[in-house]
Subunit: 133 residues, 2 copies
DNA sequence: CGCAAAACCTATTGACATAGTAGGTAAATA
DNA sequence: TATTTACCTACTATGTCAATAGGTTTTGCG
């Protein structure tokens, strides 16, 4: 189950993508529109800036904006940044070197197959695909 | 990420499916073969009995066995019993009636699509598909 | 220059799930 | 009657989730 971090981040991205102007959008506005705690969104927005999804600007008329066109963001990169790997099992995270039984593991091929399916699904979806009315 | 409960349950099912005889298999043997804490497996096996995946028998020559042929179990039913719903977001769990914004939600169609994909994948996989060498 | 708005920062919290452990009781067989 | 096994209740340490609280820095505007 995806957590609020990933889901809220996606909603922030959609909110930003829906703004017409190229100005910075204050988090206060986003939090009100999306009905999410502004304080909690601060944490999420900070991670999004650090991960290169959005740009932040302090001070008056500051806020956040996208770095790229909505069509250039995949849903996968947004979720993966916030939630960590899509790996359905620990063995598939990172290098997988720790499990000695991988060669004889009866379930690993299935997990791998699902992992690929999931990545293809979410990396195939673009942010722009979500904002059509 | 799937937890050990679902993964261990699947390994117990595979272990049972690989046994030639129709006798009850003691958990001690399974725990040793699979290198999983027997005490923890007890909890898992109890849930599996309750959910109708396996049958248990107490006393000498007791243990656990499958209720059906391996080909008649889907991986989906095993995982879903142990992990709960496959729903990727809370809105899709149960009746979804709580979210008032579902009609205008930009992300719900995507979550629904993924939910169907995931269910189809895991309900399409049979236990017998995992035990070919 | 000073004020307000905004991001940015550190720390803390309550609730819950995970992954077990511990120790005992009941049932069945030899 | 002893042994083997499932079955049962309770407990625990650790970590994650979903925030909250309160402060500091940056920036534009009057």
């Amino acid at each position: 189950m995806f957590s609020t971090k990933g889901r809220y981040a996606l909603r922030v991205m959609i909110d930003l993508a829906q703004q017409e102007s190229d100005e910075f959008i204050p988090l206060k506005d986003i939090a009100e529109r999306q009905d999410i705690s502004k304080k909690y969104l601060e944490i999420i927005a900070k991670e999004m800036v650090k991960g290169g999804l959005i740009t932040g600007a302090s001070g008056k008329h500051g806020g956040y904006k996208l770095c790229k066109e909505p069509a250039d963001y995949s849903v996968g990169e947004i979720i993966e940044l916030m939630e960590g790997s899509f790996a359905p099992v620990a063995c598939l995270e990172n290098d997988c070197s720790e499990c000695e039984k991988s060669a004889e593991c009866k379930t690993l091929p299935m997990w791998t197959e699902f992992y690929e399916l999931e990545k293809n699904f979410f990396y195939g979806k673009k942010l722009s695909d979500l904002i059509n009315n």
